[in-house]
Structures are given as structure tokens and as C-alpha cells.
Symmetry: C2
Subunit: 316 residues, 2 copies
Amino acid sequence: MLNAIGVDVGGTKIAAGVVTPEGEVLKEVRHPTAHTPERVLEGIAGAIEEVRDGFEVGGVSLGVPGTVLSAENKVIFSPNLHAIEGIPLKDELGKRTGLHVTVENDASAAAWGEFRFGAGSDVGHLIFITLGTGVGGGVITNGALLRGAQGAGGELGHVTIQATGPRCGCGNHGCLEALASGTAIQRRAREVASERPDSALGELAAERKVLGEDVTELARRGDEAAISVLEEAGKWLGVGLAGFVNVFNPEVIAVGGGVSEAGDLILSPARREVHLRSRSPGRDLVRIKEATLGPASGILGAAALARHPSGEYVFG
Amino acid sequence: MLNAIGVDVGGTKIAAGVVTPEGEVLKEVRHPTAHTPERVLEGIAGAIEEVRDGFEVGGVSLGVPGTVLSAENKVIFSPNLHAIEGIPLKDELGKRTGLHVTVENDASAAAWGEFRFGAGSDVGHLIFITLGTGVGGGVITNGALLRGAQGAGGELGHVTIQATGPRCGCGNHGCLEALASGTAIQRRAREVASERPDSALGELAAERKVLGEDVTELARRGDEAAISVLEEAGKWLGVGLAGFVNVFNPEVIAVGGGVSEAGDLILSPARREVHLRSRSPGRDLVRIKEATLGPASGILGAAALARHPSGEYVFG
């Protein structure tokens, strides 16, 4: 089997890697992302050319942050990289590189990476959820990536779990993202800090802006205020995951993204909430655990979704 | 292609039909449901024998109300038909009829019926939701029925849409079922009736117990109190459906069950809420409409899920 190139297109950097069918990254490059359409294309094409050198490559897939129309291999909405919206990526990059290029949502690609090579490599039914600034996700059901009619499916961060809850970046109220993302944790940390000024969290907030990492760090050191912020986010995460357990009956839910570095500080309350809110036998089967590939899931998953011009995956 | 038998096993009646691959019901029987394990088996086997007479049949599938373990063809939880729990249906009915028998969740079977022969017959991505005493559902994504790892997936009524909401029959709080089922409508109708005793709804409630059908009937006649009850349920329905649009990116959402007889009185507020809460391009694509097969969806869907011993669907 041939190798494939996976490109993780982010709002701040582009990472491209040559990946073997076994999930080994043979070569990887990383560059800052430019923000005009032409320079985005140049940057992606350049990264592809740079890594392919000397390797036999069957195809390329991009994981992009935003809403992808699968049939057209186009990004129609990308809040952190507007320059990529509407570009005919497949054709333009195909012309520049001579390779067959397809386009995927970045969280769906990362889900596929965890399914092929990571936390879900031993199962057929996987939910992947990434908790960062926003909340993204991907669903593998019966060994297939759930895309939906247009490729816009799998938006697990944008299900309503508290209809009267806080406004989400997407315009809706009470999305999972509005309650369990890094952004939501930061917002709650500010509120809790002002309610509990004598806590370590409160003292830090008096000095400087509190980041998500700070909350995790303070919680690890035992600060009750910081612990309560993560517990609350973990509970909300569990409310969302419980619904996914009932709807998808997955074997594994893998949680990735920056917030997942809090580990059991956020996953334990999530597991308790899932147990309370979801049904047997799904709730007894599912294992909720940290994703294992880290930032590499983007490149690995995109590569594993690369296709031959026939439509077959390069990795079979 | 051979015919198949679909059996719709309900808490009050069992309906069995011989169905052609084109979705024509050649013969149908209907009997009350017995409530001991042996008599449930007798009832189902008897109905199968009664309809098969004279027809070439490739296989049988049962749609049962409850949680099905697909691999074992067993029902592990059925709140309205406990007698069926744990019975080795495939083996026992196979022995009695000589036919190959498989077991499906009733709402999943009905979803498959709408997909093959009804509201979703022209699409590949369908959500079916049935609003009755409870809320059931089924998901077809990329032409396949979503079952999950154990066959317990597709429980669309049991996603949390208002975490602090009313208690659901499943033990959770704020499930879609707890807010948009016929039971929820009846409960809200009682509350609204006591707040607005001069409304037609209030007057009826003073006389006798108000049923779901009454609310629809009064709303059709223009009673504002009854209309508001359906609008509220429709909004909650829309909150849930909006999440399904973002997660599944379906082409059609077909709404069935007794409550759906309220038509646009419940679907119009649901559509408005979906438009507010879900994202492009999925929200622009999806059509939310009434299911078209009515009660026949159970038999038709189960028949279309009947298999040969090889595992292939009888209807291909």
C-alpha cells in the first residue's frame, strides 16, 4: 500500500505529514498559516511539496477547521480561517501538486485518526470529541465516518443541552460548546474567581487573565474553586455525552483537545453524569477516555482519509 | 425477490403482514398482545403462520418496543411488554415457524419503512421520529440504519435538551421525550387549562381528562390555549431536531406517531426553532415533514429488515 499525505490546516499553522498505512509519520513540516486565499493555497501546496519529496504517495487529504461540503471538497464556513472559504481546493491543489486531494472537517479527520490508530483502534463504534476554544467532534459508526448528506454532520459541539443556557458562538443558546469548551471554562473561572476571591483561583484572577491551563494547574494543586469549575464543565460534558450514548451506542468516547489535559478532573464528573443520564446497555458498555494521539491526530486522520481518484481510501 | 414478513409487536396488539419488495402488503393480521412469555411467543408465531399461508417468504423480522441487543436478537428492556424481555426470540420463533427471524427496535424498523417506502424513499439520509406516549426514533445515514455497537442506538427521544427540565420516564431530566411527547403535551395541557379556565381547553379540563387528541382538536378550532400547548411542544421538538440536523446533516426529518396528527400546529414551531438553532448548510437542506406510512410503517419497515440466514436483507 502507498503512503498518504495528511494536512492539518489550522488558523495559526499548517502541518503536513507523510504517513504510512500503519500510522507512522515519515516526515512532517509545520508553517504559519497565511490569511489570503492565494497565500493559503501556496502555503498548503508548498507544505505538500516539501514533505512528499522522495516518498511514494497515493493521495492527499486536508483536515480544515470549518464546515465542509464533501461532494465539492470545499469549505463554506471557517470562522478562524475565512480566507479558505469557497476556494476550489481539490482542483487548485491538484493542479499545483499533481496529487489527488480531498477535503474533510478537521475534527472528523481527527476522529478517524483515533479510530484507525488511537483510542478507538480496537472498536467499530467511536465518538471523538475535542474540547478546545470550541467543541468539535466526529462519529464513527459501524466502521464508517458519519458525514451526513453534505458532509456537514458530526457537529457534536452544537447540540442543545440546556435550551435556556448561555449563548454559543454559533448563535444558538445552550450548546455543548457554550458549556464545556475551554472558552466556557475561562468564563466560569472568572465568575467563580470573583465569588471566591480568597481561593488560589481568585488570587490569580486578581493578578492577570486566567487561562484554561491555569484552571487545570490550580485544580491539580487542590484549589477547590478551580476544581469546581472543571467539575461543572465535566458535568455539562457528561450531559452531552449521555445523549450520544443513547443515540450512537458507541464502545468508546475519546476526548481530546487542550481541555482534555485536565484528565479525570473533567472526565470523572462527565462519567458520573453519563451514568445518571444514559440508558443500559449502552451506558455499561461505553468507555470514556482520553484520546491518545494528541495533536498528531489531525495529520494521521487526514492521511487515513486520503483517497485514490477512484474514491477508494489510499489506506484501504 | 421473495416476500418478507414484518411483525409489529406492540404492548396492546401484534400486527403481522406479508410484504412484497415493492412495499405492498399482501395480507395482514392483527391480534391482541398476551402478556406471559409463552403466550407472547404463541401469539407472534401464530400471527406469522396465519399470514404466511400460500406465500413464498424469505424471512421474518419483528419490530419490538424496547431495547434490542442486535447480535442476540433479544429484547432486554420493554417497559410496555415485560413478558418479551430475555426471550430467545430468533431460536424459539425459528423452531415454531421454520423461518429465519431477526429482531429490531420498533422505531428503528418504522424509520427503515419510511426510508424504503415512505417520506424518505428519495433520500439517503433520514431521521424518523415518532411522537406518541413516548418519543422514539431511528436514523438512516448514508443508506444504512444506525444501530450502534449493541443495537441500542437511535434513541432520539432520550437526548437531554434542557438539563434542568422535567423528569423523564427513563430517569433522566429534560429528555426530548419529557418535553415533546404526547404525555408531555397532556401534562402541559392540564397546567395551561388551570391557568386559563375560560379557554376551551380550560372548560374541557373542568369536565373530563384532556387527551392529546383533544388538544389537537381544540387547537384546530382556534383555541389559543390549546394552540400554545402545541406550540410549546413544537418548540421543544425543534430544539432536539436542531441538534440532529447538526449531528446527522439529514435530508429529511419525518415525524410520525399520534402527536404528528397535529401537523403544522406542531411542525411549524419546530421548523422555526430548527432554523434558529441549527447551522448552515444543514438547516437549509433539511425538510421536516409528516411521515407518510402511518401505522403501516411498523410492518413495512420490519419486513424490509428481514434477512436471509446469510445475513443479507431479503429485499436486498
